[in-house]
Amino acid sequence: MDTSAKRNKSSPPAPDIGRETRLELYRLQLELRYCEKRAYDLFLQNLIKGTSHLSLGQEAIAAAFGVAMRPDDWTFCTYRGHAHTLARGASMEGVLGELMGRQCGLLGGKGGSMHLTDVKKGAMGSYAIIGAHLPVAAGAAWSAQYRGTEQVAVCFFGDGTANIGAFHEALNFAAVWKLPVVYVCENNLYMEYTPISAVTAVEHPAADRAAAYGLPSIIVDGNDADEVYKVAREALNKARAGGGPSLIEAKTYRHSGHSRADPAKYRPEGELEKWLQRDPIVLYRERLLKLGFNEPTLIDMEAEAMRQVDAATATAKASPLPSVDDIEKNVWADGGSAWRN
C-alpha cells in the first residue's frame, strides 16, 4: 500500500490478516471470476441480451471490501457492478437470472445488468449514469450518522468518473458533514475506450484530488486483495469511529473490453498481457501457497465455485420469463403505476 505523505499516520496499524479471512478472500475472488466468465459465455450463447460490463481482472477490490464490510453496511456501485453485488452475498442465480431477463433475477428483469440491487444484502443499487451514486452514498451515510448506527456506505466508481461534477459535489459534501462513507475509485486506466490520461489533468484522477476535500491521498494496488483489504478495514473503521469519509484509488485493469460490444482494440500491444501476469487471482493463489495453505483446499474451492456457477446457471435458465403485466408494476410504493384516477 502506497499512501501519500499527508496520510493520517496516527490511525492504528492494520492487524495482520487471519487465515480464515485469507481463504474467504480467495473464495470470493473465485466466485466473482467464474460468475463473470459465465456471464460472458451466456452472451455468446445469446442468452443475455443488452449490454454488460464485466469486472474480470478487477475482482480483488470488490472481494476485499465484501469481506471487510459489516453485513449491515451499504454498497453503491456502477453498471460494472456484478462483482460488487455478488460480493455482498447476492445470489448467483439472482445475478445471472437478471442478466438473462428472468423472473428469478434480482430485479425480475426490470433493471438488467446495469442496475443490480439486493437491498437485503446491503447492495443498494447499481447506477448507470456516471457520478450519480456518489451523492446518493453520501446520503445513506448521513442517515447512518443521524441514527447513530455505525453503518458505513461504500461507493465504487471508475477513474473516468472522477471528472464529472457529481464527484466533486459528493466529496465536498461528505467531507464537510464528516459522513461515514468510503469512496473507492477503481482506476482501470480507461473510461470507455479513451485512456484516462488523455482526459484528466492529474495522474491519479481520485488520489490527486483528495486534498481538494481535505482528505489524505490513498493509492492501493487493486490487484492485491490483501492490500485492498487492509485499506478497506482502515477506512471502514475510521468511518465507523466518526472520522469521516475516505477516498481510495485502487489501481487495476479490466481483462475484457468496456462492455459486451467492445473488442478493446484501443489498448496498446502488450498491455493486456502485462496485466494478465498480475491477475489478482493468480497472484493471490501464489501467495496462499507461499503462506503454506494446502493446494487441495484451493483446488476444492475452485471446483466449488464452478459448481455454484453451474447450479445458478441451471436455475436461471429454468426460471420463467417475467410477465407482461410487470411493465406497469412497481413505479409507486403501492406496487402500481397509476398517474390518474
Partner: protein, 325 residues
Amino acid sequence: MAELTYRDAVAAGIAQEMTRDENVVFLGEDVAAAGGVFKATVGLLDKFGPRRVRDCPISEQAILGAAMGAAMTGLKPIAEIMFSDFLAVCWDIVANEIAKIRYMTNGQITLPLVIRTANGAGSRFGAQHSQSVENWAMAIPGIKIVAPAFPADVKGLLAAAVRDPDPVLFFEQKSLYSMKGEVPDGEYVDELGKAKVLRAGRDCTIVALAAMVHRALGAADILEKEHGISCTVVDVRSLVPLDTQTILREVVKTGRLVTVEENPRLCGWGAEIASIVADECFWDLDGPIVRITTPHVPLPSADLLEDNAIPSVERVVREIREKID
C-alpha cells in the same frame, strides 16, 4: 383557523411533520440559519436544531443525491432547491435516479422524500429565475407533483407529501408567498391527487394551477359580471396523480375546456389535459379546446415585459370572450 401567509404555511407544514416524526429532516442552501431566501423556513432551525435542519453547499446534485440516499435508508428528507430553474443542475438526480430507482429495482427501494422549490414568475428576476417547470417534472414517470394555490393547501399538501411513501416534487409559487389565507390550526393533512372545483359555471370549464388559479378566478368573476359568461374554475393542485375524474366531469358539464398555464406553451401540463379531454370526452365538447399560456419564449425581466408575458386576468377574459360564446 388562523390567517397565515403562503410563506408561513410552508414552515407550518414542515414543522408539523418534523414534530410528528423524528426521521423527517430538512436540508438546502441558506435554509437553516437564514430561514431561506424566501423566508419560508424561518424558525425551523431554532425549533429542531442543526442536526435536523441543515445548510448545504451550493451543490444541488449532492443535496438531492443525499436526500435520495437518506430516504432509502430510513429518513424522510425534505430538500429545498432554491429556485425551480435550478432543478436543471440536478435533473439527473430527479429524473433518472429518484424517479426511476423503485421501478428499476422492482420495488426493492422506496423513496419517501419531498423536494420543495420556488417556482414561477412575477419578481422581475429574468429568464433563469422565473420559470414554471412543473411540466418538466410531469414528463418524468415516477415522481408525484403538487403545486398549491392557497396557504391551506400549502400546509395540507406539504404534510401529505411528507407522509407519502413516494418522491414528491412540491412547487411553491413565488408570486404567492405573501398571499394570506385561512389555514386550519393543529394537525392538518390533505390528500394528493384531488383537484378542487372552486367555482361552478355553465359555459366553460377553466382548469388552472398555482398562481393561475387566482387569475382564472378573477377572470371568471369579470366574465360572469360583465359579459354573462359563466365559468367553472378547477384548481388542479396535483399534476401527478392527476384527478382526471373531476376534470372530465366538469368539462362534460360545460362542454368547453380552457387551460391557464404559467409555463411556456409547448408540452405544458395543459397539453396533456387537453389530449385526455379530446380523447375521453370528445363527444361532450361543444367547441375547441383553448390553452392560454405564456408565449413560447424565455421570460424577460423588465416589469412591463414580464407582466405582459404571463397570462393575466385581462388576457383570460379576452381569450374566453373571443373563443367561447
